[in-house]
């Protein structure tokens, strides 16, 4: 891969917006704008933040019909796809042969095809993997390189889109629809990565700037960067691929069993038949050694990723590690996600985090840190 960073269709818009850019997954992406991460985060929680996430992969799977396409995708994931209704979206992940996670993504039934949004850092691998496995089953895999993707997140998001499409209020959480915004054909889902109400909007690249600019005209909308995106998703207790989950982590340990449909689990009519099924099904029945939990430090110091965790006995072995840690702008104290041995994972239990040679007490807490606010 060349060292030159790729640009999203909104690169010029960012550069005219007092942005601080950073390299991310091969793209030059906005870390923050002039008001900073804290302000962008709080504005998203109180009004609406607009995020460029065009670096993410947008993929179309197309077989003879939806049913065939769904069945093909089911060979790679522990989710139910066939019964997904038209214009509904689900969260999913590819498992690997050792029971880890190859990538996580959103997928939706768009009538005659499946539309997926995958992680930027994984999209090349995902597309190769999908082609290798689905093309032999008669399903084509198309990487949509001509569309931008933005996320409009926060409590005023609906009001903002109503100005362009009044019927948007009819959409429920995880509904998908094609609507015109500023004259462009946009694919909109009522979903996001902040725990708040919001929409993810796929836009033809050539219209990306016009659509984004027209949404920014609403008095409640401000640009927000990847810094705020990370602190918002952490408050919502949502995993980030490459950080909290990866090829070596069990979806069961990561608390993602909810995303696996009963039809694919033991006793279901489509039991197993996805990579690593044996391992994952045994983890569901027998439990895992570690569990991903939320932590609140008792002190003021943020506990960062890769911090090691220990029990109270000073001679104790390592009992876990932090995978994401930051300051919560909403709660005004640090929060973290991490894996800890199951016997330490009970809510209210305290363990020690080793930070700069000192042991700091942190407490296992309920997830999410900040209550979700989805439109039911």
């Amino acid at each position: 891969m060349s060292d030159k960073l790729m640009h999203t269709p909104l690169n010029n818009l960012h550069k005219n917006s007092h942005v601080r850019m950073m390299p991310f997954a091969g793209y030059e992406m906005p870390l923050q704008y002039k008001n900073g991460i804290m302000s962008e985060h709080l504005h998203t929680r109180s009004h609406a933040g607009l995020f460029d996430v065009s670096h993410m992969g947008q993929v179309v799977l197309r077989g003879n019909d939806f049913k065939q396409t769904a069945k093909a995708l089911e060979t790679l994931i522990p989710m139910e796809v066939e019964t997904l209704n038209v214009d509904r979206q689900r969260y999913g992940f590819f498992t690997n042969s050792t029971g880890g996670i190859f990538d996580d993504f959103m997928f939706s039934n768009r009538g005659d095809h499946i539309y997926m949004v995958v992680n930027a850092s994984r999209k090349e691998d995902d597309i190769k993997y999908l082609r290798e496995n689905l093309e032999p089953l008669g399903v084509s895999v198309r990487n949509l390189e001509n569309r931008a993707l933005i996320a409009l997140q926060g409590p005023t998001s609906q009001k903002v889109l109503e100005e362009h499409f009044p019927k948007i209020s009819k959409m429920r959480f995880m509904d998908v629809s094609t609507i015109p915004i500023a004259g462009a054909e946009c694919w909109v889902s009522r979903s996001g990565y902040t725990g708040d109400d919001g929409f993810e909007i796929s836009i033809p690249s050539q219209a990306a700037e016009i659509v984004t600019t027209s949404l920014l005209e609403h008095e409640t909308v401000e640009l927000a960067g990847l810094g705020a995106r990370d602190s918002l998703r952490l408050e919502a207790g949502l995993c980030l691929y490459g950080q909290d989950i990866d090829a070596t982590t069990s979806p069961v340990a990561a608390g993602l069993k909810w995303a696996m449909h009963t039809s694919r689990l033991s006793g279901g009519d489509k039991e197993g038949k996805f990579p690593g099924a044996e391992k994952i099904l045994s983890e569901i029945s027998d439990g895992t050694e570690y569990k991903l939990v939320g932590f609140v430090p008792l002190g003021k110091a943020p506990i960062r990723a890769n911090t090691e965790l220990f029990g109270h006995d000073s001679s104790s072995d390592k009992i876990g590690w932090i995978t994401s840690g930051s300051f919560s702008p909403t709660l005004k104290h640090p929060i973290a996600l991490g894996y800890v041995k199951k016997e330490y994972s009970i809510q209210g239990n305290r363990v020690n985090a080793q930070v700069r040679g000192k042991l700091l007490e942190i407490e296992v807490t309920q997830l999410p840190f900040v209550k979700k606010n989805f439109k039911k």
Binding site: G36, M38, G227, P302, R304, F327, P329, P334
Partner: protein, 119 residues
């Protein structure tokens, strides 16, 4: 006032040196949410990591610019770390130290040289 390449400012007050971070550094760090200061009385060597600054995004260290002893720390920053974003060169100084050798400060940049560095 003198400036280090690590974006600290040093101001001489009698036989003490007051140390903080520059406007440029505080804006680069972003919203500061946590500061850990050394204990008063600590003996430090130049380049020892003596202050931890955490922004929402990441942690960074502040190195001791001189050999000497920490004689006073700015306790206010422990409760209000965001002061470093508001007034980095005024109220939000980090610590006062008594250098072993005041001449050590001469190696650092003056304001003109520092402005050039960050421009």
């Amino acid at each position: 006032m003198k400036f280090t390449e690590e974006h600290e400012w040093l101001r001489v007050e009698g036989d003490l040196v007051v140390v903080g971070i520059t406007e440029h550094a505080s804006s680069q760090l972003g919203d500061i949410v946590f500061i850990e200061l050394p204990d008063e009385g600590t003996t430090v060597s130049k380049d020892d990591e003596i202050v931890v600054i955490e922004s929402v995004k990441a942690a960074s260290d502040i190195l001791s610019p001189l050999d000497g002893q920490i004689v006073e720390i700015n306790e206010m920053l422990v409760d209000e770390p965001s002061k470093v974003n508001e007034d980095p060169v005024g109220d939000a100084w980090f610590f006062k130290m008594k250098p072993d050798n005041m001449d050590q400060i001469d190696e650092y940049m003056d304001e003109a040289a520092y402005s050039k560095l960050i421009s």
